[in-house]
């Protein structure tokens, strides 16, 4: 059995609040209140294939450690709205470009600072430090300017924009910026010469000697016809100083003492210059970008995502064009071949009983329902053309593992224990997904057990998807909705992967007539070419 449980949350270190109380307040782009990301993976992740999805989303962004955010559904519907606003803002190309540029520059700053720690020669490390500071100042100012010029509507980005404006005009930032530029300008103006003569190296200030390359080019200019192939050979380069270069740098520092003293002073004066609030934003905003980047190719392949409307009760649930994100992610550019499905719970309906042939898309359907609710609770666009969803307080999955022979013995008992545990924890706001469980017995037993459990589930008032081959369970009262996976009428071995509301009849010949008129799903789809 698997379940979510909010009580065992491991809180992460809370970043220090902004240092100056005069600045606009801003905490997090992900939470409009205090809530911390959890580190452990929700147990239902594997059943819903959300582990694959999240791996795909955070892939290539390892430095940001985003996985905890995707393990943490929000506690309040308001936070979902807070995130939707930010998502919508980030759909604007100008803002997205600005954030990407900001993030790239922050990565550069971190890589420079890593070199400050790593490299052995002071003339090198101090230069990395001042370059990191200058890059940081530049990116902060560019980003502040960029967001100031873009219409943003989300609370999160408006607040962060205000915070940035205040930070940019603070004296701490101003002195960091001006001093870094002074130091770098001074170093960049240094010109020196190196004379190598049989192992002896002489370093002097440059005194205007003429360029040999220009002379050579001038001599052969009369043969020049258009562009020439490049013959520049890259000299092997570790990217950092070797000991000969370090000695040369030492001599250059003696030739230009003022510039190098300024560097040293800067290094000593500005310790940890990266603002913690900005650092936190840099990490957290990647949550949005990672998800947007993940779904972009799927959108391009024709799959529709939407911002769900949160509803208060299960009876208002309505989804059109829902699909399995893990399946779509695997299909990649072939995602257009994914078959979307609709479902709804109306009034007192709480339980979707899904029957139909093997390999007909039933498990995918159950996963899809679970994913939709989980994604809605993450505050991200969900995998459906339109969705009205209730926020589940807990999500339980129990997926029978048919192929595992070793657990067959006593499996029924084991499953019953797990079902009982779920029913103990579930509230009327919980979502339960049961897939081919309680079937390791005779049909009569399975009908009986199923009816019993369904009755308890119905009493609890929680939402449930029950995938089963026991047709009898599909008609157990007002809370139950029967759905069936479809097959082609003239070739029942062909699945349509369409799960539709209809009585469980064990077969799917009802659509034979439609096929005759060319109105079966694949025919019609084929006929209506894009």
């Amino acid at each position: 059995m698997t379940q979510t449980d909010r009580r065992g949350v491991h809180a992460e270190q809370v970043p220090a609040p902004a240092r100056s109380s005069a600045r606009a307040k801003f905490g997090s782009i992900l939470f409009d209140d205090v809530q911390e990301a959890r580190t452990e993976r929700p147990a239902f992740f594997i059943d819903l294939n959300l582990d694959q999805v999240v791996d795909g989303i955070v892939g290539g962004r390892d430095d940001y450690n985003l996985t905890p955010f995707f393990h943490t559904p929000v506690e309040r519907g308001d936070t979902v709205g807070y995130r939707h606003e930010v998502f919508r803002d980030l759909e604007k190309d100008a803002l997205r470009a600005a954030v990407d540029e900001f993030a790239a520059a922050m990565r550069r700053v971190r890589s420079y600072l890593a070199l400050v720690e790593k490299q052995p020669y002071v003339h090198e490390t101090q230069r990395w430090f001042v370059d990191a500071a200058a890059t940081y100042c530049g990116l902060v100012r560019r980003f502040a300017d960029a967001v100031a010029g873009i219409e943003v509507e989300s609370r999160g980005l408006r607040r962060f924009r205000g915070y940035l404006a205040g930070y940019c005009s603070s004296p701490v930032f101003a002195s960091l910026e001006s001093e870094a530029h002074e130091v770098i300008d001074g170093l960049q103006a240094v010109r020196y010469t190196v004379r190598i003569k049989a192992g002896r190296v002489t370093v002097q200030a440059y005194a205007g000697e003429s360029d040999y390359t220009v002379e050579v080019e001038r001599t052969f200019a009369r043969f020049r016809e258009g562009a020439a192939e490049d013959h520049l050979v890259k000299v092997p380069d570790s990217g950092s100083m070797d000991h000969v270069e370090a000695r040369i740098a030492e001599l250059v520092s003696r030739l230009f003492p003022a510039q190098f003293q300024a560097l040293e002073v800067f290094f000593r004066a500005h310790g940890d210059f990266v603002d913690p609030v900005i650092a936190r934003f840099d990490r957290e905003v990647q949550f949005y970008l990672a998800y947007a980047d993940y779904i972009q190719p799927l959108t391009a392949a024709g799959l529709a995502f939407s911002y769900p409307v949160l509803v208060d009760g299960w009876g208002e649930t309505a989804v059109e064009g829902g699909f399995d994100l893990a399946l779509a992610g695997k299909a990649g550019s072939a995602a257009g071949a994914i078959v979307p499905n609709d479902f709804a719970l109306r009034g007192a309906e709480r339980i979707l009983v899904v029957t139909g042939p093997n390999q007909g898309g039933k498990t995918t359907f159950a996963r899809m329902v679970g994913q939709l609710h989980y994604l809605a609770a993450l505050g991200v666009p969900v995998t459906a053309g339109s969705a009205r969803l209730a926020l589940a307080d807990q999500l339980f999955t129990l997926f029978g593992k048919r192929e595992d022979i070793t657990t067959l013995h006593g499996r029924l008992d084991e499953e019953l224990v797990q079902v009982r545990a779920i029913l103990q924890q579930a509230t009327s706001r919980s979502l339960i997904l049961l897939n081919e469980v309680l079937s390791s017995t005779t049909l009569e037993d399975a009908v009986y057990l199923g009816n019993e459990v369904l009755g308890r589930v119905a009493d609890r008032g929680c939402a449930t998807v029950w995938v089963t081959f026991v047709d009898e369970l599909a008609d157990t009262g007002a809370a139950t909705v029967s759905m069936m996976a479809g097959v082609h009428p003239d070739d029942p071995s062909q699945r349509t992967y369409k799960i539709a509301r209809k009585p469980a009849d064990g077969r799917a010949y009802a659509s034979a007539l439609a096929e005759k008129y060319g109105l079966s799903y694949p025919r019609l789809r084929h006929r209506i070419s894009p």
């Binding site: 003429s210 390359t213 052969f220 043969f223 013959h231 050979v233 000299v235 100083m241």
Partner: protein
Amino acid sequence: MKVRLMDRGRDFDPEQSLPAQADTLEQDLELGTLLDVIAQGDGYLRTIAQRSLLSGLQEVDAIRYRQQILADCLKHPAVVRALYQLAVKGVETKRDARFYWFRDSPDSVLQKSIGMLGLLADGLRQLRQLADENASGFDSEGFTRLFTALRQELDEEYLQAVAEHLHGLRFRRDAFMSASLGRANRGTNYVLRKPEERTLLQRITPSGPAGYSFTIGERDEYGMQALADLRGRGIGLVANALAQSTDHVLGFFGLLRAELGFYVGCLNLHDQLVERGVATCFPDPLAPHQGVASAGGLRDAALAFHLQQPPVGNDVDADRKQLVIVTGANQGGKTTFLRSVGLAQLMMQAGMFVAADWFRAPICRGLFTHFKREEDPTMTRGKLEEELHRMSDIADQVTANSLLLCNESFAATNEREGSEIAHQVLQAMTEAGVRVVFVTHLHDLAERVHRQQLDAALFLRAERTPDGNRSFRIIPGEPLPTSYGQDSYRRIFGLPAGTR
């Protein structure tokens, strides 16, 4: 330094893409035979000639420009061949140098360039000397200009300056360079400087900037390597500039080889045609819209190399004719005639002589051939379908003032259908301003066009003497309802010849 022997305003591009119909032309006009003669075993000459013939010139002036240069070549073949040999030798410097240099460091690039430039400078000097000795005998604008450039730009003073540069860069352990501080405070923007000037500057300003020195110990292998890398960065730009200069000089030799190659190929062809007694002349190119097209003694230049005696020449007067329909006896020289027209057109537009006593024709925008083919070996299409497909390809590309040569097109179906298709094609083509020469056995077609009494149509016929013999001559004559297949039948079955 320009060569400009192929075009007054442009370098010749031996890599230029060929028109879409190039392969078809080559096959239908037996261009291979001609190219083999031109090459005389030199594959490069073959390529150049092929490109030149298949990408013909479009201006009367440009054709005349080459004709004049070719006339100079025919007067001084030995000098032209000697120039070509120098060009070839220059280009081959590169191939020789590749042998023992690896492109793995700025220094190896530098040393390789110094070596090659040394050899190329010798070649340049010899070119200049040939120009000095022979310039006065050449009259064409192209050669006059080339020789003048060689004599002015490659004078002794210049070649001396080149030699000095090459000498100054030979020292492999030294360098004097400037730098600024880049990332990590490491040196960057390394620029090799002329070292002599330092001593001069120091003399002027004795209190000049102080310097600091250190020495890398002989046993410090890492230090020595680091120093070598540093020098590599310093000489990188110069090595690149020198290597690029080498490329430029090689490029000049390459262009010289390509452009002279065309004329050397023409010399080869001319020698061989003369040997076989085939007359040549410089044709008279006319602007594309001019309707004048006639020739005397027009021969198939390729056929000359398959026969013991010179091929039969034809006189044609197709002035103001948009459509020429050729009918008549099998084996009567119709295809040969068609090929002679196509080859002469290609050769004229390449700036070459043609195999005729005289020849004048408008420049065609594009030359197209639609010849009967063997069955498609891939079996993807039926024969008629294959023909239609090819004609459709032509229709995609053809423009007004193009020349279309058809050889028994649409014979892959019955006469009535073939004639109907052909008639519609011909009507459309000619109305669009395409000139068409159509060799056919389709009597329905020929007869139908003949009845229309079009001024713009000319009917030619392969001559057959009353005893059934072929003269291989194409003469004016209306279409006849037989192609004398009987003659073939009789000949092959050993039956007595006779008229119908």
